[in-house]
Symmetry: C2
Subunit: 338 residues, 2 copies
DNA sequence: ATGAAAGCGCTAACAC
DNA sequence: GTGTTAGCGCTTTCAT
């Protein structure tokens, strides 16, 4: 059988209260007693039961992480950093893959409540353009500290990157390089702000948006590939493409390559996300990077504060991080068109 | 305050035992009572406390997953599938990134013990060529169901892929295509069995191994790139390269491309792992794929059996899966050299 | 500085 | 079928 605090107390010849003190507030125990008890603990290889602790303290020192998936670069890194950061703060992590299913999400939430996790880091299902009021009020019901990551939900502490500005930067970069016919290949799942940024960049430079050069679809290599083939087939005229993510960009580059177009000479490409291979392509990809580690750390800090102080005292409760334009070969920055 | 079984009992006008039965064995409760109680549960939005349950039942319905990282394609997918599979079986997952640190691993283990997880899926730190007896006896101490994944530890139930045979297949494929000077670019971290397979393939075909064409290093794009450049600089003669993983292969292909060599015409390349982009390259990569989902499912089945039946009754306790050779353009299978 | 005892929320005998 | 009650292993007053 597993050893309990009682066994330790008996072996050390003290009361269970003293053992408990040795574990939780050793400074309140006389050195000699302390010694004896610690010795006994070691001897019995005693490990306190977290469940018993939870019963009386109403704290589990564990937190729930709800993400759509972990098997992709972005969420994989997010999950890893969340785990690391919380581990350092003495918490452990219960992983929940929502797979973008509202139903799964609900079940996860009730499980997390039964387990009394101290808090939750959460990315909603279904990127809602902005927040849905329902989502918020539903979350509200779980009276538990929650920090939203990479999503917007009004009234909750949250951390995300400024995708509108990211897109703006990407497109402005192309405009600055002399491009006037810039396609946008994105889609709802690469967050609508990217398209808004694309349009604002045009507006800011008094450029007309060519609606026929905007294509919305899935965030995949295939979509990028097909779209470029479509453009070529339709005889569309464009000298650059801003892609909603790097996979789309990758597909686009493949299609251009196979159609005998050169990147960046014939068509400049800018992606989004800066996934690992972006830098490793034969023609390295210009792209937008979010400061994932920093964002996650901030989210973890917010949640820790919420848990341990009951409120966010120190600084803003909602933070938006700027993205970074990573200039590589694919946009042809070194080629002058002016 | 959080509602308890007592609140429900009072509201429904029954004893707590009945409420407990309604939750755990509803069939043992008379329909009318059942109704009333369920109604009360709903009304109070009652959620049983997992901690209280754990205290009496000595089961947490949660399991620990120890992996080196989740922010890479392989382990990300493994983690995701482990989570899914256990979720379906009613367990939840505590994620632990060991980062290949023995120290971290130990701390994780004691945390998992305090939390009384019902079992652990585990990949050791430091791929030991074979198992170290110490590792095994250390694991033994935690008297808890453990299944090893993607590693060898004698005497434990385990699941992994047959990398020796995978490498054998890869190299035999190249030999069959007529190659006689085949480089091996791998390294300790891509598991030593791959090199063994490489050698055995040569032996099986009475071919001499060119030791100078074997380079061991890190499992990275850079290593593949540098190695090929080295070969070329040294004037090494080779017509094919088997790479310890796809990233190395990717680097190798980049280097060949930049040196004006064609893949597969001048040099055939075979990778290992079949990562996502392998199929998406301009020259899609021939590679070896492990049946990740199947492997994980098996591991989860084993652990579930161990937890729920105390032993593995149905089938082998240790299983090795064959890998699959995925033939794509990079090996030039369509080019005859004979 | 330490001990005695109550109680956290639940399940499982054991009665009725 | 349902109620009573004794714990599960800990922390935390309240005494001493």
């Amino acid at each position: 059988m597993r050893k309990t605090i009682k066994d330790v107390a008996k072996l050390a010849g003290v009361s269970t209260a003293t053992v408990s003190r040795v574990i939780n507030e050793p400074e309140r125990v006389k050195p000699p007693t302390l010694q004896t008890v610690q010795q006994a603990i070691k001897e019995l290889n005693f490990q306190p039961s977290q469940a018993a602790r939870t019963m009386v303290m109403k704290k589990t020192k564990s937190i729930g992480l709800l993400v759509p998936t972990v098997s992709n670069e972005y969420w994989g890194e997010v999950s890893e950093v969340v785990q690391d950061e919380f581990w350092e703060r003495g918490y452990n992590l219960v992983l929940c893959n929502t797979k973008n299913s509202k139903e799964r999400e609900r079940k996860y939430f009730t499980m997390l409540m039964e387990r009394m996790v101290d808090g939750v880091i959460y990315s909603t299902v279904d990127v809602p353009g902005c927040e849905t009021a329902e989502a918020a009020s539903e979350l509200r019901k779980f009276k538990i500290p929650i920090v939203i990551f990479d999503r917007h939900i009004m009234g909750f502490p949250q951390v995300h990157a400024d995708h509108l500005n990211g897109a703006l930067k990407a497109v402005e970069h192309l405009i600055r390089l002399g491009h006037r016919k810039i396609a946008y290949i994105g889609g709802p799942l690469t967050s609508p702000e990217r398209e808004v940024g694309y349009r604002q960049a045009h507006a800011a430079h008094d450029l007309e948006v060519h609606e026929s050069l905007i294509r919305l679809g899935s965030p995949t290599v295939d979509f990028g590939y097909e779209t470029i083939l479509d453009f070529i087939h339709d005889g569309a005229s464009f000298t650059a493409a801003f892609c909603g993510n790097d996979l789309i960009a990758f597909g686009a580059m493949n299609a251009l390559y196979q159609s005998g177009r050169l990147v960046p000479e014939d068509v400049a490409i800018v992606g989004y996300d800066d996934i690992h291979i972006a830098a490793l392509l034969n023609c390295p990809l210009t792209t937008i990077r979010q400061p994932i580690r920093t964002m996650v750390k901030t989210a973890v800090d917010l949640l820790t504060m919420l848990i341990e102080q009951g409120e966010i005292t120190n600084g803003p409760s909602s933070v938006v991080y700027p993205t970074e334009l990573i200039v590589r070969k694919s946009c042809g920055a070194e080629i002058s068109r002016l």
